[in-house]
């Protein structure tokens, strides 16, 4: 769906130094969106065309309110495109394609473990909401740079969900010091729940997702990962965004992150840096 989303909220998220933004867009995308899907947003006012920057930016859907026809995007100002996006004012209309791709799946019952690294947290919030609505038990493992980051990136909303939170920071300013996967591992060791009762979903840096995937594999927990890749068309037409999977026969195959993903089963992903 190609729509003009109207900016209804566009604000700094937490500490300004984190360069995070919250953008709420009004439009019909909310009606069909699922957690894990994304949009491709034009990073400039759609009324006057400029071709620099040229491409849309893929941003995960971080909040879905179908009653109010609103989706929330949370993003970090990273480069020129997001910097220009950050200028959009309330009332402006931005051209948005979406919802795109295939989101996370939810088990019928049991426990859902969410493992987030940094801003990988964003697409996991609507997933937690859906899971809770469906009666699943949810817990979150979330690692970030430091306290300021975690608080800026939405810690309080997670607290409001009333689920167990396992936090870690690199500098120890909040939660445990270290990597988020270490905490998951500890709990897995102690946990009575067998692999079959747990499902996991992870989003964050590639290395972190790879480590999480290996960890869960050892405990026979199936895990979904959300990949990132540079995108051209965002609809599966250009083959710009492929990732490499290994199929059941052990053969390497390509899948499109934009159309077949961004969510894939962790076990099938080939994590080599660039193929």
């Amino acid at each position: 769906m190609l729509t003009e989303g109207q900016v209804v909220v566009h604000e700094s998220l937490g500490d300004e130094e984190q360069r995070l933004r919250r953008l709420v867009l009004k439009g019909p995308i909310a009606r069909t969106a699922h957690a894990g899907q994304f949009v491709a947003i034009q990073v400039q006012d759609s009324s006057i065309s400029s071709f620099d920057p040229l491409l849309r930016r893929p941003i995960s859907i971080a909040g879905i309110s179908s009653e109010r026809d609103e989706i929330t995007l949370l993003y970090r100002i990273q480069g020129r495109g997001t910097e220009i996006l950050a200028r959009a004012k309330c009332g402006e209309r931005l051209s948005v394609m979406g919802p795109l791709g295939k989101g996370f799946s939810l088990p019928e019952k049991g426990e859902l473990w969410l493992v987030a690294g940094g801003i990988g947290i964003f697409p996991l919030y609507p997933l937690a909401q859906s899971a809770l609505a469906q009666g699943l038990t949810v817990r979150l493992f979330w690692g970030g740079e430091n306290k300021s980051f975690l608080e800026s990136a939405g810690l309080s909303s997670w607290k409001a969900l009333g689920i167990p939170l396992h936090l870690s920071t690199l500098d120890g300013s909040l939660g445990q010091t270290g990597l988020v996967t270490e905490q998951a591992q500890e709990l897995l060791k102690k946990s009575s729940a067998s692999g079959g009762q747990i499902r996991a979903a992870t989003c964050g840096p590639k290395k972190m997702m790879q480590a999480a995937t290996e960890l869960f594999k050892n405990y026979k927990v199936s895990v979904e990962v959300s990949l990132e890749e540079r995108m051209g068309c965002a609809v599966g037409a250009c083959l710009g965004c492929v990732c490499t999977l290994v199929d059941e026969a052990g053969v390497l195959i390509h899948r499109k992150v934009c159309q077949d993903g961004p969510v894939f089963r962790g076990e099938e992903v080939v994590w080599n840096e660039s193929c």
């Binding site: 769906m1 190609l2 034009q42 065309s49 071709f51 620099d52 920057p53 040229l54 491409l55 849309r56 495109g81 051209s95 394609m97 890749e229 540079r230 995108m231 051209g232 068309c233 965002a234 609809v235 599966g236 037409a237 250009c238 083959l239 710009g240 965004c241 492929v242 990732c243 390497l252 390509h254 159309q259 660039s274 193929c275």
Partner: protein, 306 residues
């Protein structure tokens, strides 16, 4: 005022209107269905195919540049067999004309592909992408050597009854010479232009952004080069031209037609806005109406009269 006649006919190809989409940017026709009504298009050009399946290059395959896009997909495609089995049946059902795009690394590759694609395949034409290295001749590109280009087109022409469109590379000293060569080879029409060879370096990582180092530059940045080549070839060679390279607005499309393009094709522009083809069609129609032109074909080459 009677409506503008949008239909276009050239080289044995009949199109509802002169708006096409470019090979490699529009998949096999189904990907954009939710974003742009295919029945409104003159036609689409399919992703380039090769005899055998190809996984293409590693990622990153894309890099954004000022008003441009570098791509190094590396001709990922399912291969001829899978194309015929799984894709062609769906392509035949598309509500618009479909042009196949074929690539090869030897003369034999092209012949093999062309032989398999005939009028009865339901395709409207065959676009021959000659911007590929000829591995049997030390990697010299077919598309930069007039002799090889002529041979490839002649070989393709000999084995298919479909109209043959030669798609030229802009990375040459003399585009007119290339156009003349493929005309001698028997090309029925020309596609101008493929991408310009470029690259981008990540200054943080101190290495090329694209895994393949080099990529093809497309998008608005290259439009002035594309228009110039269409203009030069239109003046020198009597073959219909499909103009492409950076078309993103209806004004761009009109510019290509005034320069000599009989039809226009939109590639990277779809990524910017998937409704670009429709907006272009409307814009061209309005432009013709305002100027009292009965047919969109009347635009072709008009700027040469000045």
């Amino acid at each position: 005022m009677s409506p503008v006649n949008l239909s276009t006919q050239f080289a044995g190809i009949k199109l509802r209107n002169p708006i096409l989409t470019c090979s490699g940017t529009y998949g096999f026709g189904e990907e954009y269905v939710a974003y742009c009504p295919l029945e409104a298009l003159g036609g689409i050009t399919l992703k380039g195919i090769t005899p055998l399946p190809r996984l293409g290059n590693p990622v990153p395959r894309l890099a954004e540049t000022p008003a441009g896009l570098l791509n190094a997909v590396g001709l990922e495609n399912p291969g001829l067999e899978e194309f015929l089995k799984s894709y062609l049946p769906k392509v035949r059902k598309l509500p618009t004309a479909a042009i196949a795009n074929i690539s090869g690394f030897s003369l034999e590759d092209y012949v093999l592909l062309a032989r398999a694609l005939q009028k009865d395949s339901g395709l409207a034409a065959l676009e021959v992408n000659i911007s590929c290295p000829n591995v049997k001749h030390g990697g010299m590109h077919f598309g930069t050597d007039p002799q090889s280009a002529q041979e490839v087109i002649a070989a393709v022409k000999a084995v298919t009854d479909l109209p043959v469109i030669a798609k030229l590379s802009p990375n040459v000293t003399d585009i007119v010479g290339m156009a003349r060569a493929v005309q001698l080879g028997g090309a029925d029409a020309l596609s101008l232009i493929n991408t310009l060879l470029g690259m981008h370096i990540d200054i943080n990582q101190q290495r090329p952004v694209l895994a393949n180092t080099f990529g093809g530059l497309s998008g608005p940045a290259i439009r002035p080069v594309a228009v110039r080549m269409v203009w030069q070839v239109f003046q020198a060679v009597d073959l219909p031209i499909i103009g492409m390279g950076g078309i993103t607005t209806w004004q761009d499309a009109v510019e290509f037609m005034l320069a000599g393009a009989t039809a226009v094709s939109i590639g990277t522009g779809n990524f910017v806005n998937p409704l670009v083809p429709l907006e272009i069609l409307q814009g061209i129609q309005d432009y013709c109406e305002k100027r009292g032109l009965a047919s969109v074909h009347d635009l072709v080459g008009l700027a040469h009269r000045a």
